[in-house]
Amino acid sequence: MSKKVLVVDDDPDVRSFVVTVLEENGYIPLVAHDGVEGLEKIQADQPDLVILDVLMPRGSGIRLYRHLKTDEALKDLPVIMFTGIALRSFLKSQKALEEFNGEVPKPDIYLEKPVEPEELVRAIETKIG
């Protein structure tokens, strides 16, 4: 059975790219435009992995990430952070948030855009084969 991968990104260019990569490599792509829709899709379609953008309108990338990592039922769902901002900036912003909201596990995989398709596929494979 093909595995389902959810792409949460507000940028249609990124969505079409990732969807194509997923299709080419035998995954079933699911898409969401922002964090709110992302959570709905996760609950409705139960993907095997989430590829998540950080900077989305309404801060929903960061919010969804924190939700996924702190929810008992969802914390084992693999997440690939896929974003234009450097890991260092991301961790710094997380650290700032943690001071208020408590610690959140570091991302499993953090990919900085742009990536080669092979790189993305390799990252998915290390998580869900």
């Binding site: 260019d13 990124v14 790219f17 194509t20 900077l55 309108p57 309404r58 234009g84 901002i85 855009k113």
Partner: protein, 518 residues
């Protein structure tokens, strides 16, 4: 009192001796003579201050002596000693200019009083003389001072860095210094006392001075103002000028104008703005790198999708990938455009155009994109606003920029229950100000964001903004001599108002016709 040498003249020796003794004991110095002729000799040798003389004497009597003395020195004090009933002699003595009379026999007190009076007169005369002499010196000094200060003022006016032009009450030019000659480029010989204000100044400037002087004859100084001096042969000189209205006893005497040539200052200012702008572009680079990276992500992703489409002969993929590539190419071209616009000097290109049409164009351009994201865009146009003379590109680019920002503000709003609305409106304000307004009910901005809005490297949109949008808008509007006002409330929305001065076609035509007539 200096007058203390007294000449006593009498033919009776005993009287002479008695008087002499008495006066000496009073502290006077005395000299004596027995008749008029002798007295004249003593007078010459001793130059006494006061003469006391009897009338009746041999050889030369007192009246003759008096006459002679007055001829030599009209100011000399001569006291006449008269006998009883000698009225005729007294009158003659008065006519000859005697100072005083004492009766015979001479009493000490009477003599003392007469002498005191004479001395007082001498004293007053001495003082007067001093004053007169002083006055002459003072007048000479004052004249010299006036000459010097007039010369100083002339030099001051001559060498002033300000151009100074003064008019008399008939608007004839009476002062015209070398700096004025340099600015107006007309030789002083053709100007001074020959030209009137209208001959030298551009007509609208001349008229405005005349109007102001006529409106308020009591007006004094007109404060410094800046203006463009449009001279003959198309020479335009930016100047700062002030005027002083001159009055004397409430009468209008004329006007003096001071001009400062701002050409060099303006050039330096421009250079400064330019170099600041270049520095700003430098600062924006890090923000730009981010933005360019996003474009690269789009291009790489797009070309991958196109590759797959070609390999699989999948038209759908080809189309999607190609759209992505095209979109990002246009982002690169917009960015280049923005950078060029921002880094280069640009004069607005004024032409007849319709702000309402431009506004509708912009709304049409974004309406579908906005709708796809759940945002309504509404145009409210001023139906009375016809064609104006302005730069249509400034309006188009600025409006598009603001509307794009408004869309981002709506997308960034966490309150998804809102019905997002962007209202784009046009209207005019008194003073020929065209207002273009973009109002959204999106996320709004806090004070901090508002204060950095027009800063070079500032973007509130992460990697999705270049930080150039408002910068470019601000520059375009500024070059159009307009301004942008911002009002925003966090969570409620934002309103940007562009205010541009404009001309109407009718008015420009009217003015052209008027100039043709002249």
């Amino acid at each position: 009192m200096t007058a203390n040498k007294i000449l006593i003249v009498d033919d009776e020796e005993i009287i002479v001796r008695l008087l002499s003794m008495s006066l000496r004991s009073d502290g006077y110095e005395t000299v004596t003579a027995g008749n008029g002729e002798e007295a004249l000799k003593v007078l010459e040798a001793e130059s006494p201050d006061i003469v006391v003389t009897d009338i009746k004497m041999p050889v030369m009597d007192g009246l003759e002596l008096l006459k002679r003395i007055k001829k030599i020195d009209a100011e000399k004090e001569v006291i006449i000693v008269t006998g009883h009933g000698d009225i005729d002699s007294t009158i003659t003595a008065l006519q000859y200019g005697a100072s005083d009379f004492i009766n015979k026999p001479v009493r000490d007190e009477a003599l003392a009083i007469a002498l005191d009076r004479a001395k007082a007169k001498i004293h007053i005369r001495e003082q007067l003389e001093g004053y007169t002499k002083n006055l002459e010196v003072k007048v000479a000094e004052a004249t010299e001072e006036i000459r010097r200060s007039a010369n100083f003022q002339r030099l001051l006016i001559h060498s002033s860095n300000d151009a100074i032009v003064a008019f008399d009450n008939e608007w004839k030019i009476v002062v015209y210094n070398p700096e004025a000659r340099r600015i107006f480029d007309v030789p002083a010989g053709e100007v001074l006392n020959k030209m009137r204000i209208d001959d030298l100044y551009p007509s609208q400037v001349a008229e405005s001075f005349k109007d102001r002087a006529a409106e308020n004859p009591k007006a004094h100084d007109l404060p410094w103002e800046e203006m463009m001096l449009n001279l003959k042969e198309g020479k335009n000189i930016p100047v700062r000028f002030a005027a002083s209205v001159l009055h004397e006893n409430g009468e209008f005497m004329g006007i003096v104008n001071f001009f400062q040539d701002l050409t060099e200052i303006k050039r330096l200012e421009k250079e400064l703005v330019q170099s600041e702008r270049l520095a700003a572009v430098g600062q924006t680079v890090s923000g730009l790198a981010h933005y360019v990276k996003n474009i690269l992500i789009g291009l790489k992703g797009g070309s991958y999708v196109v590759d797959v489409g070609m390999k699989k002969n999948n038209t759908e993929k080809l189309k999607t990938g190609w759209e992505t590539i095209k979109k990002n190419i246009s982002r690169v071209s917009d960015l280049t455009q923005d950078l060029l616009t921002y880094s280069k000097e640009r004069e607005p290109e004024f032409e007849p155009c319709s702000p309402n049409e431009i506004l509708q164009d912009v709304v049409t351009l974004v309406r579908d994109t906005a709708k796809a994201q759940g945002i309504e865009v509404e145009a409210t146009i001023d139906p009375d606003l016809g064609a104006v003379i302005a730069d249509p590109r400034t309006m188009h680019r600025s409006l598009l920029n603001l509307v794009n920002n408004a869309m981002d503000a709506c997308l960034d709003d966490e309150d998804v229950s809102k019905d997002f609305l962007i209202r784009v409106s046009s209207y005019t304000e008194p003073g020929d100000i065209l207002c273009l307004e973009v109002e959204d009910n999106g996320c709004g901005m806090d004070e901090n964001t508002l204060s950095m809005l027009f800063d070079p490297m500032f973007s509130s949109k992460g990697g999705k903004g270049t930080g150039l949008g408002l910068l470019v808008t601000g520059k375009l509007v500024e070059e159009h001599k307009g301004r942008i006002d911002t009002k925003s409330e966090l969570g409620k929305g934002t309103r940007f108002t562009i205010r541009l001065p404009f001309e109407t076609i009718a008015r420009v035509d009217e003015r052209a016709a008027k100039e043709d007539k002249q």
